[in-house]
C-alpha cells in the first residue's frame, strides 16, 4: 500500500483501495455470506400456521362485511325507514314498515330485525376471533421455534436430489476429462505449427465457435438431435429407421444428449489455456528429448505436459465449473423431458417452489463441490493459485 501511496498520493491510493474494498465486500463477500446464512436457516413450512393465518384473516373480513351491512341497515332506518314510518303524500311509492317492499333481498325483515340478526352473527364471529388468534400465534411460535439455524436444509434434501447432485458432478468430471483428451492433440499441434498463416487459420477455427454465443451452439445441436432433426433424417436416408412410420429416435430427452451438448459447448474452454502454455515451451527441448531417443509418449509425459500443467489446470477448472453449473444446456436440450440437472433443481427452488433457503443450500453445495475440485486440481498438478488465470 505504501508503494501505491508513494506513486499516486493519498487521495488516489485511498480511491483505489476503497474501490477494491467495495468490490470485495459489497460484491463478493457479503452476498456469499448472505447465501451461506440463508443456507443454514431452516424455514419450517408445513403450512399449518399459514392456514391459521388465512382463517383469521377470513374471520376479520366477515366481521368487516357484517359491520358494513349493519351500518347500511342503520342508515336505512335513519333515512329510508323514517319517512316510511310517516308516509308522505307526495311519495305514493313509499311503503309502510312491515309491508312487503317491491324486490330486494332483505324484504322479508325490517331493518331493526336485520340489525339484531347481524349483530348476533357478529358477536358469534367476534367470539371466534380470539381462539383463532391464539391458535395462529401458537403455531407461529412453534414454527419460529422449529425454524432457525440448523443443517436441515441439507439433511432434508431427498435422496433423488442427492443422486442428481452426484450425477451432475460425475458428468461434469467426464466432460472435463474427455475435453482434455480431445483437446490436447489440437492444442499441441497449433502451438507447434510454424507457419504464421496456418496458426492464424487454426486460431480462427477455434475462436469463431468459442466466441459464438453458447445458446446458439446449443441451438445448432438441438436442430441435429430433434425428433425431426438432421440425425434422424440421416438415419432415415440410410434406411436404418423409418420416419414416416414414427420410428424417430428420441435423442433429446436423455442425459446422453445433455452430455454431448455440454461437451460441444464447453470443450473450447480447454484449448485456449493449454495452447497458451504449450506455446511458451522452448521447441528445442522437444527436439533435444527426441534426439536423446525419447519416445513420443515420453516426450509428452515428461516434457510437454509438465510444462503445460498450469494451462491444463485452468482448462480443467473452467470446463468443470461451467458444465457443473450450466443451466443453459440441460434447460434447453429437450426442455422438461430429460432427468433433471442439479442447476435445474436450484432454479425450481428459487422460482417455482419459493424455497429460497433450500435453494441457497443447494447453491452452496454446488459452490463447495467446485471449490473442492479446484483444490484437488491445484494439488494434483502442483500449481499455486497465483499461477493460474494468467
Amino acid at each position: 500500500m505504501s508503494s501505491l501511496i508513494r506513486s499516486y498520493g493519498g487521495v488516489l491510493a485511498a480511491l483505489f483501495g476503497g474501490l477494491t474494498l467495495l468490490w470485495i465486500i459489497g460484491l463478493i463477500v457479503l452476498p456469499q455470506l448472505n447465501m451461506i446464512q440463508r443456507a443454514f436457516i431452516w424455514e419450517a413450512r408445513d403450512g399449518a400456521a399459514q392456514q391459521a393465518g388465512v382463517d383469521l384473516e377470513r374471520a376479520y373480513q366477515k366481521i368487516a362485511t357484517l359491520d358494513y351491512d349493519i351500518r347500511a341497515a342503520k342508515r336505512d332506518i335513519e333515512r329510508g325507514s323514517a319517512p316510511s314510518a310517516a308516509p308522505s303524500p307526495s311519495d305514493p311509492f313509499a311503503v309502510s314498515p312491515g309491508a312487503p317492499s317491491p324486490g330486494g333481498l332483505a324484504s322479508s325483515e325490517t331493518p331493526d330485525k336485520r340489525i339484531v340478526r347481524l349483530e348476533s352473527e357478529r358477536t358469534e364471529l367476534q367470539g371466534q376471533i380470539n381462539p383463532l388468534k391464539e391458535r395462529f400465534g401458537r403455531l407461529k411460535i412453534e414454527e419460529a421455534e422449529a425454524s432457525g439455524y440448523s443443517i436441515k436444509n441439507f439433511t432434508t434434501m431427498s435422496p433423488l436430489h442427492w443422486r442428481i447432485f452426484g450425477m451432475t458432478i460425475f458428468y461434469a468430471f467426464c466432460v472435463t476429462l474427455l475435453s482434455f483428451l480431445f483437446c490436447y492433440p489440437i492444442a499441441y499441434t497449433i502451438a507447434r505449427t510454424q507457419k504464421e498463416i496456418h496458426v492464424a487459420f487454426f486460431m480462427l477455427g477455434i475462436i469463431i465457435p468459442y466466441a459464438l454465443n453458447e445458446l446458439l451452439r446449443i441451438f445448432a445441436w438441438t436442430m441435429i438431435l430433434a425428433n425431426e432433426g438432421i440425425l434422424n433424417s440421416a438415419l432415415d436416408t440410410l434406411g436404418l429407421i423409418d420416419l414416416e412410420s414414427g420410428e424417430a429416435i428420441r435423442w433429446l430427452a436423455s442425459n446422453g444428449a445433455v452430455f454431448c451438448v455440454l461437451m460441444y459447448t464447453y470443450i473450447l474452454f480447454m484449448i485456449f489455456p493449454m495452447y497458451n502454455t504449450i506455446e511458451t515451451l522452448d521447441k528445442n527441448q522437444i527436439e533435444a528429448a527426441r534426439d536423446l531417443g525419447a519416445s513420443t509418449w515420453r516426450i509428452h509425459s515428461r516434457v510437454v505436459i509438465p510444462h503445460a500443467k498450469p494451462g491444463i489446470a485452468v482448462g480443467a477448472i473452467m470446463t468443470f465449473m461451467l458444465s457443473a453449473g450450466s443451466i443453459s444446456v440441460p434447460g434447453l436440450v429437450g426442455p422438461g423431458l430429460h432427468p433433471d440437472w442439479f442447476s435445474q433443481i436450484i432454479y425450481r427452488n428459487f422460482f417455482e417452489a419459493g424455497n429460497w433457503n433450500i435453494g441457497a443450500a443447494q447453491s452452496l453445495l454446488l459452490l463447495v463441490a467446485c471449490t473442492i475440485f479446484i483444490l484437488i486440481v491445484l494439488r494434483f498438478f502442483r500449481v499455486g493459485i497465483q499461477e493460474i488465470a494468467r
Binding site: F16, L30, L216, M223, G325, I327, L332, I346, L366
Partner: protein
C-alpha cells in the same frame, strides 16, 4: 531461435521412420474431424436460416428465403405474412436491455478491475495471495451461484427486486476479475522508473497517474471494455437467475428455444456468426501485427 528449431527439425526428419509419418497422417485426420465437429453444426444452423420451412431444418428444403431476416408484411393490409426479425419486438427490446446492462457493466468493472490490479501489483505483504484468490474467485464460481447470491443479497438487504440492475451487478462481479487479470498482465510490464522520475522532477501524484499510468494502460482499458461488453452481452447462466421478470436478448433466445424452434433464431445466429467471424479475423490480424 526459430532458425535453429527449423534446422533441428530438418536434421531429425530423415531419422523418423515411416511409423512417424503414419502418426502424422492420423493426427491430421483427427484434426480434420475435430474441426468438422466444431463447424458442421454451425453450418447446419446457417443453412436452416434460409429455408422456407418454418421448422429449422436443412434436410427438408422447401426453398430459399430471406423472410426470417426481413419478415414479410402484406403492403395493403399490414398483415404479417411471415414473422421475421423486425416483427419480433421482444428480441429488439431484449437487445436494448442487453446493451444497457453491458454498458453499465463496463462502467463498473473497469474501475474495480483497475483498482484491484493496482493494489495487487503494489502490495508487498503476505496477504497478496489471499487477496488475489478472493479477487479472482468470481471467475471460478459457477455463474448460476453468482446470479443467485446477487439476487438474494439485493433483495434481502436493499429490497431491490431482480431485474436489469441486479444482472448488471452480478455480471460486474466476475467481469471485473477478468479486467483485473488483463490490467495485471499489463502492469507487470510497466517500467516503474518512469513514475519515479516524474515524481522526482516534481510532478504531482495525480499528474503521474494521468500522464504516465493511464496512457500506458489505455490499450488494455480498450480491450477490457470490449471483452467485458461482449461477455456481458453473451452471458446466459448468470443472467437467467438475476434477471427476474425482465429479459435480455440471450434469455429471450433461450425462452424461445424452450417453446419450440423457429428459424428466426437461426437468423439471429447467422448475424451473430457474421459479427463473430469479422471480430475474430480482426483480432487474429491485430494480434499478428502486434507480435510481428
Amino acid at each position: 531461435m526459430s532458425m535453429t528449431a527449423n534446422t533441428a527439425m530438418a536434421a531429425s526428419t530423415p531419422r523418423r521412420g515411416s511409423s512417424i509419418a503414419w502418426s502424422d497422417v492420423l493426427l491430421n485426420i483427427y484434426i480434420l474431424i475435430f474441426f468438422l465437429y466444431l463447424f458442421v453444426p454451425l453450418l447446419i444452423m446457417i443453412g436452416a436460416a434460409f429455408n422456407v420451412n418454418s421448422t429449422p431444418s436443412i434436410t427438408d428444403w422447401q426453398g430459399f428465403t430471406l423472410d426470417w431476416f426481413t419478415g414479410e408484411v402484406d403492403e395493403e393490409t399490414g398483415r404479417v405474412i411471415a414473422k421475421g426479425l423486425p416483427q419480433e419486438d421482444r428480441f429488439l427490446q431484449g437487445l436494448w436491455h442487453s446493451v444497457i446492462i453491458a454498458l453499465g457493466v463496463v462502467a463498473i468493472a473497469i474501475p474495480l478491475g483497475l483498482s484491484g490490479a493496482l493494489v495487487l501489483t503494489r502490495l508487498q505483504s503476505g496477504s497478496t495471495t489471499f487477496l488475489y484468490t478472493l479477487l479472482i474467485s468470481p471467475i471460478l464460481t459457477p455463474g448460476i451461484v453468482l446470479g443467485v447470491t446477487t439476487m438474494i443479497f439485493w433483495r434481502d438487504i436493499f429490497s431491490v427486486e431482480a431485474g436489469l440492475f441486479t444482472t448488471m451487478i452480478a455480471h460486474s462481479t466476475f467481469i471485473a476479475s477478468y479486467c483485473m487479470l488483463m490490467f495485471m498482465a499489463r502492469l507487470q510490464r510497466q517500467d516503474r522508473g518512469l513514475e519515479e522520475a516524474a515524481l522526482d522532477l516534481g510532478a504531482s501524484n495525480v499528474m503521474v497517474f494521468r500522464r504516465i499510468t493511464l496512457p500506458f494502460l489505455r490499450p488494455t482499458i480498450l480491450t477490457a471494455a470490449v471483452i467485458g461488453f461482449l461477455q456481458s452481452m453473451e452471458n446466459y447462466n448468470t443472467t437467467f437467475f438475476a434477471i427476474g421478470g425482465s429479459w435480455t436478448l440471450v434469455t429471450e433466445i433461450g425462452s424461445r428455444m424452450r417453446f419450440g424452434l423457429t428459424p428466426v433464431i437461426n437468423a439471429i445466429g447467422v448475424i451473430f456468426i457474421v459479427i463473430t467471424v469479422v471480430a475474430a479475423v480482426a483480432w487474429v490480424f491485430f494480434r499478428k501485427r502486434e507480435k510481428g
